[in-house]
Assembly symmetry: C2
Homo-oligomer: 145 residues x 2
DNA sequence: CTTGCTTCTACAGCTACTGTAGATGTTATA
DNA sequence: TATAACATCTACAGTAGCTGTAGAAGCAAG
């Protein structure tokens, strides 16, 4: 069993964040020691690391809850799990595509820098461009309410 | 010239968000019409779309400010621009790598779903695993303060 | 046993928005 | 041209997701 400080270091997050996740139900309520300290197992560390990575990738806590439910309830009917997985996969692919465009542009800039000055930075163009945007709600065919 | 509502629809964001970005200096102070309405040009829309995409990809406003400075000041010495671009490129690559792992796992789950039930979901394992984590601050060799 | 670190609860503060109220501008329809 | 419907304005409060701080209590080392 690990203390909250150990868990926080393992997942590179703040102690308060762990308590916050417990409070909102993303992490299970931790059992306590004699002296009232929270105690964690390796599975809790894994779960927390998953949450932190997903957060760093820009997923909302609700989306993460969604993903966690896949492993929390491995016997749920496939229709539900499949829907969740597909929904998240779409999102992941959109993100990879946009990051790819940004990466290309950043590499081009770094490469160009060898010449002395960056006179035609297209960093905005790259990520504002519809052609590079895979998100449904940004495509000209659809308008949001 | 476009109204704020038009710009908000073009970038799929809220009108208030645009005013907020102006307030914190991410967007230039918009010129006003006779009737005191903000007026925007295409360049403003592009800039806003860049910001929104970057935000969706999980970049903090400070990092976005960083990236925007690359195109705001195209004649700045290459040393500075290169540092910014490299810093952001590293981050982008880390994100792509982690999203790639998540994508693989989601695809595996969707594929497996054809069999009926998901009995061995490894979605947590994938994103909590150190082997898949490219971030310096998560590698066992280093500990954060 | 006391110095120093960790953890506890509780709550205030921060970032990045998002919503609401009430006033005013603008436009479509009668 | 009047008036209803909608967009925009300012100002400020509220939300999500943390992050910091205060003050008390637990615990380990010297």
């Amino acid at each position: 069993m690990y203390t909250i400080g150990h868990v926080a270091r393992a997942a590179s997050c703040k102690v308060q964040t762990i308590r916050y996740y417990e409070q909102i139900g993303l992490l299970p309520v931790a059992p306590r020691s004699e002296g009232n300290r929270r105690l964690y197992a390796q599975a809790d560390i894994d779960r927390l690391m998953f949450i932190r990575h997903a957060r760093e990738l820009g997923f909302a806590l609700d989306a993460i809850r969604d993903l966690l439910s896949l492993s929390d309830d491995p016997n749920q009917p496939c229709v539900a799990a499949d829907a969740i997985a597909r929904r998240q996969l779409d999102e992941v692919e959109r993100r990879i595509a946009r990051l790819g465009s940004l990466k290309t542009e950043l590499m081009r800039m770094i490469d160009q820098c060898r010449g002395g000055r960056i006179s035609d930075c297209r960093v905005i163009e790259v990520l504002s461009n519809h052609a590079h945007c895979m998100a449904d709600d940004h495509r000209p065919t659809e308008a949001k309410p």
